[in-house]
């Protein structure tokens, strides 16, 4: 058995990945993955917020009043998000303009509140910080993959540098305009989930109910 600290960090990377297994945080994964640069900045912001939120919520977990705990958690999370947003506006203005409202919407990212409720409320600070880091990185690598695929296939570029010469520039590559639209992120995430679940069949969910195929009277045959 691995050390719990390492386990808290490693598990969310693939085994319990917040996007592919828990299917949380999909909204932002669609919105900010048009280019790799925005995906990277968004990932960094989420990692910071998630780690600090997990840490600070875990710190006061033993004194958290039960009936207003969600409000307190959201207060902490939103303060951290505002700080992250202000930082971006000060040090990466162009990026913050491109990400527009989506930085602010980290508050509503289910991964962060989800980890706070299910992990940080029950575990010590250091373990919670590792869990936050792990989940943040688990979210980040999916965003980076989706962002890279979308930017390369949609524009032929990666981080603004030409990878595939487009036919408009005299190359052979015909950019796929679909990749610049949000639904393409759905397809890529779907493919990733398919790959991961084929490699790790344990992740596949069992059917919750079976469709009733028999028509009345038919089973009396």
């Amino acid at each position: 058995m691995k050390h719990p600290m390492i386990r808290a960090f490693i598990n969310p990377l693939i085994g319990e990945n917040p996007i592919t297994l828990q299917v949380l945080g999909i909204c932002s994964a669609l919105a900010v993955t048009k280019t790799l640069a925005t995906a990277l900045i968004m990932s960094a912001a989420v990692i910071c917020v998630l780690t600090l939120a997990n840490g600070s919520i875990s710190l006061i977990r033993n004194h958290m009043p039960k009936n207003v705990r969600l409000i307190i958690q959201i207060t902490i999370i939103s303060s951290l998000v505002i700080v992250a947003d202000q930082m971006l506006k000060a040090y990466a203005y162009g990026m913050s303009k491109q990400l527009s409202v989506f930085v602010g919407l980290i508050v509503t990212n289910c991964i962060i509140l989800g980890r706070a409720e299910s992990f940080a409320m029950k575990n010590p600070v250091r373990l919670s910080v590792m869990d936050g880091l792990g989940n943040g990185l688990g979210y980040a690598w999916i965003l980076v993959v989706v962002g890279s695929v979308r930017e390369v296939l949609g524009t032929g570029k990666l981080l603004g540098a030409t990878v595939l010469r487009t036919s408009a520039d005299g190359g052979w590559f015909e950019p796929a305009a679909l990749m610049l639209l949000p639904p393409s992120a759905f397809f890529i995430i779907g493919l990733l989930i398919w790959i991961i679940r084929s490699l790790k069949p344990a992740q596949a969910e069992s059917e919750e109910f079976h469709a009733q195929l028999s028509i009345e009277g038919e089973d009396k045959r």
């Binding site: 207060t75 939103s78 303060s79």
Partner: protein, 268 residues
């Protein structure tokens, strides 16, 4: 032994030992968290404010540069000079440092601004400054461009932008919005290079009325309106209407009309 412990543990330890659901503790914990959050947010906002202002200014000047670059030969050799204009008379006002003049602040100042009459206030400004800073671009002593600051209500926010006109004051060089909070993916598309590129070369008026604006549809290339109008933005009707309103206001008599008339006559 327990007695000694009790005496040693102060109010803090007793507070921590309280059950979490007791109202006093709930209130105290909630207030403490809110206070800490507020301090954190306030301190960051105040500390980072100077940097953010620098960034905003830089971004604004990039939008001006963008319009200059749309001139022939990429705007090479163009010298841009900011100048303060009296909007009522349309004359330049000497003796005011245009780089220091804050038009937005002036619009809020009762002595520096005038109320926009409601029947004229299509762009929803309510007040506008008496003076404005325009940017005149010239090459080898010949005026080629004037950039006007424009603003108006869009769908979700006030749109702040620059409209660049060529020396005849009737041909658009570029229209660029540097500040808005329109819906991402819909109204915010006013900020994309693709949409902005359409404005270049459009005519302002047909001699009688201002016709420049956003069409309510995709513009047919061979139609009469193609010389004046750009494609609508799907799903952003009110942003397009807002852009039209602000263009009509600022190009009209209550806006830069008097100035543009003189600019056209004198060639700057």
């Amino acid at each position: 032994m327990p007695e000694v412990d009790n005496r040693q543990s102060g109010w803090w330890a007793r507070f921590l030992a309280m059950p979490n659901d007791r109202p006093v503790k709930t209130l105290a914990v909630t207030l403490a968290v809110a206070f800490t959050g507020a301090v954190l947010v306030a301190v960051t906002a105040v500390l980072l404010r100077p940097l953010q202002i620098v960034n905003k200014e830089l971004d604004r000047s990039l939008h001006i540069e963008d319009i200059v670059r749309a001139l022939p030969r990429g705007g090479a050799g163009i010298v841009v000079v900011p100048r303060v204009v009296d909007l009522t008379t349309g004359d330049y006002i000497p003796g005011i440092d245009a780089t220091r003049f804050d038009q937005r602040q002036a619009a809020l100042n009762p002595t520096e601004s005038v109320e926009v009459k409601s029947e004229l206030d299509i762009a929803n400004l309510s007040r506008r400054s008496r003076k404005a800073v325009v940017y005149v671009g010239s090459r080898d002593g010949k005026t080629e461009l004037v950039i006007l600051p424009v603003r108006g209500q869009g769908y979700a926010s006030m749109l702040y932008g620059y409209l660049g006109l060529s020396e005849d004051a009737n041909t658009v060089i570029g229209l660029s919005f540097y500040e808005h909070a329109e819906t991402p993916g819909l109204g915010a598309l006013i900020d994309t290079a693709q949409w902005k590129a359409q404005w270049r070369g459009k005519r302002v008026s047909d001699g009688a009325i201002v016709r420049l604006g956003v069409a309510p549809r995709r513009v047919k290339p061979d139609s009469d309106e193609a010389a004046y109008q750009v494609d609508a933005l799907t799903g952003a009707t009110w942003t397009g209407v807002g852009v039209n309103n602000l263009l009509h206001y600022w190009l009209g008599d209550d806006g830069f009309g008097p100035y543009l008339a003189k600019f056209r006559k004198q060639g700057g």
